[in-house]
Amino acid sequence: MMKKTITALLAGLVLAAGAQAAYPDKPVTIIVPFPPGGSTDMLARIMTPKMSEKLGQPVVVENKPGATGAIGATQVKRAAPDGYTVLCASIGMWAANPFLQKNLAYDPAKDFDLLTVAVKSPNVLVTNPNVPAKDVKELVAYLKQKPNKVTFPSSGAGSSDHLSIALFWMLTDTTGIHVPYKGGGPAIADLVAGHAEVSFQNLNNVIGHIKAGKLRALAVTSEKRAALLPDVPTMVELGYKDMVVTSWQALGAPKGLPADVKNTLHAAMMAALKDPETAKKLTDPGFEVTASTPEEFEKFLQSELAKWKHVIEVGKITLD
């Protein structure tokens, strides 16, 4: 105890910046509210080495899965706002849960100090090559010709691809059968095998299949064309200007972080995300590094919340 105080005092003196300059004086924990191995977990683990280097303290990833991120997020909300507990979660936890889960114990906009939107990844509209539609126009015609017959697999009820499908049906005035799976892997497997027909999937999960001709890409849902698929148009280009969907991962901390702690943490995250080596590890699997400021995150979260609230309410998406 004594030794620690002295070290802290010394650190304070050296930096001549008061006692709080000692942050961080112990390991920082990033809570990932999903199981190990998913894309959010992977992002956190790719970021940690550079973050610890910048902070001078180990940064450890702790998985706290359950209830689409709600369990881990609630735990972070209840943690002390001292900068030692950080949350790294995806669009589902930040923007969709509030409108899908009835007894949600956190409010994404109020319970957290928003730090940064780390990465985004565009979704791509893909079909099995046997579907007789070469572009979005033909697909819409095909869907209108076979109302409520075409199957749309997703990685789960309430997942971002489920929401994309619902938004697509709304904007194109079409229908289909939504078929939820346990994760993206099995959904894509059935899509490739031809047991299911049309879906929106994260670009990184399907790029290999598109290149091999096992899936046909009709459009991407980002604002600009994807670097990996320069010939595939965006939905915006095709006239659906509201069909902009990206899945994204962002970091936050319990509400009430001291300003300097917040700055230190954010700087460490920026250092990690903007490091060329780390960035390559992220762009290779298809992430786009966003590395936004807290203010940008704030604005982005509001617009995402509004968008998904609308889609979930109009699309009558419920979990029961």
Binding site: M1, T29, V60, E62, D320
Partner: protein
């Protein structure tokens, strides 16, 4: 009543199946049943609950006719100490940390054996918990405090 039950094992197992099955049916009434072609979340559990009630009923009826051995007595001391030590660990591990909660786990559970000696148990407890701290926390990097926040270090 008990003189009628010739096969207590069948009877109580049947009672357990039926109770669980009935419970499942009652709880599943809150879930959307759907139809047999478009099943809702309530369909499968209700069906299973029904099958369990059926199996339970057959087992109970059978117990009045077939003869079987009685159910051996429960060893309450062992149950309470073994399961209690595990629960204690769950309660303490966050606050007290891995090493103190494991020491308690080992001592309480070791007590369940009739060859229990406090000294050996203590030694075993210390060795096991230090080994675990080294392997699981230091080696494999599991996120536990070795000594928890309750001790203020």
């Amino acid at each position: 009543m008990s003189s009628l039950i010739k096969h207590p094992r069948d009877f109580y197992a049947g009672l357990m199946y039926s109770a669980v099955g009935l419970g499942a049916i009652i709880i599943a009434r809150d879930y959307n049943m759907g139809t047999s072609v478009r099943m809702g979340p309530g369909y499968f559990p209700t069906m299973l609950g029904g099958l369990l009630v059926l199996v339970g009923a057959i087992s109970m009826v059978r117990s009045f006719f077939n003869k079987g051995e009685g159910i051996p007595a429960f060893s309450w001391k062992e149950i309470v100490l073994v399961l209690g030590s595990v629960v204690l660990f769950g309660v303490l591990v966050r606050g007290a940390g891995l090493v103190p909660s494991l020491i308690l786990l080992v001592i309480v559970s070791a007590w369940a054996s009739d060859q229990f000696r406090l000294k050996t148990a203590l030694l075993l407890a210390v060795l096991t918990s230090v080994f675990s701290a080294l392997v699981f926390v230091k080696g494999l990097g599991l996120p536990f405090a070795i000594i928890g926040p309750w001790f203020g270090i």
